[in-house]
Subunit: 166 residues, 2 copies
DNA sequence: ACTTTCTTTCAATACTATTTGAAACTTCCG
DNA sequence: CGGAAGTTTCAAATAGTATTGAAAGAAAGT
């Protein structure tokens, strides 16, 4: 397999992978392209290499910046902006984890918190209380875990935990 | 807030939460309904309580069984089938983790494995090799971690890790 | 073997999300 | 200031997913 083919495969796979995680395909593909590019790329470069429209490229680039996965870079003497991905995979993991925690886990915990003490003595009410309570406990623990593991450094955490479990 | 309202909120939220994770809304809602029901429910019950069609209820129930999140239950004297969710939230977490690992993480690792040794001496080729190698390392570690944590017991793992990080 | 009751399938339809492309906007420079 | 070069926005078009409902299939009882 040559480099060109391999790059295409990587971009495609990263796109599919992203889809399964609620990240849209283009956004994931732009990310993939920037991850494997040696030099920062311009909007034009991205449009061309992925065959997507200007609007699409722009929107997804901004979303990636929002996730702290991509930075704007200014090249001296150049008017237009260039974009560069964070290349440290451990940092990438930290940013993604934090962002998803904030967007998905935290709202769920807040809801479960509200729903925890619904009154009622029927079996249905008891069943409901137990479920929300247990889920609240689980999600809170997970939240703490992710919090610490990203506050310090995922790399450290994953390595330590792997050792612990061996 | 009364029980009825709380149940509706829970079902709705679980549905929205599921969507963000690539699980379709109905599937997540059926799951939510079964999670908070004291008794096993029939297809009719689910159709009625969620206002969805028979086909939809049926398909999603089968998908949930496939994920080991729901079991078929036979009530003696009844012809039709009933469905019951796994209520132990730690087991639920284990099943979901395992399933997603199998469906998403493992294929990615296999691909990265293939892409790790693409030849070429250009800066682009080196950049590509470094990225696939680093990602392979990260995903493999994560895989091991998830593997152990679900083989034993997520509960044990999360509690241990939380302590470790305190 | 027929009827009843329930389950499963699947083509048509409805719904949601993504992408485009062109217009509006901004910035920089002579 | 005027215009060239680039960026951003957003309504409309397209593509992608989920849902319905009716028909076919299974299983159980008579």
């Amino acid at each position: 397999m040559d480099l060109k083919e391999a790059r295409e495969k990587f971009i495609e796979a990263w796109g599919a992978f992203g889809s399964a995680w609620g990240i849209n395909r283009s956004m994931a593909q732009v990310h993939a392209l920037l991850l494997i590019s040696h030099e920062p790329l311009s909007t034009e470069d991205v449009m061309e290499q992925l065959n997507i429209s200007r609007g699409n490229a722009n929107m997804n680039m901004r979303a990636l910046i929002d996730w702290s996965l991509v930075r704007r870079v200014l090249k001296s003497g150049e008017r237009r902006e260039f974009f560069e991905a964070e290349k440290d995979v451990w940092k990438v993991a930290t940013h993604i984890t934090r962002e998803r925690k904030k967007r998905e886990l935290e709202p769920l915990i807040r809801l479960l918190d509200e729903l925890e003490d619904i009154p009622g003595a029927t079996a249905e009410a008891k069943s409901f209380r137990k479920m929300t309570h247990d889920l609240h406990d689980l999600t809170t623990r997970l939240d703490t875990l992710l919090d610490h593991s990203t506050r310090r450094d995922v790399q450290w955490f994953v390595k330590a935990a792997t050792t612990l479990l061996k």
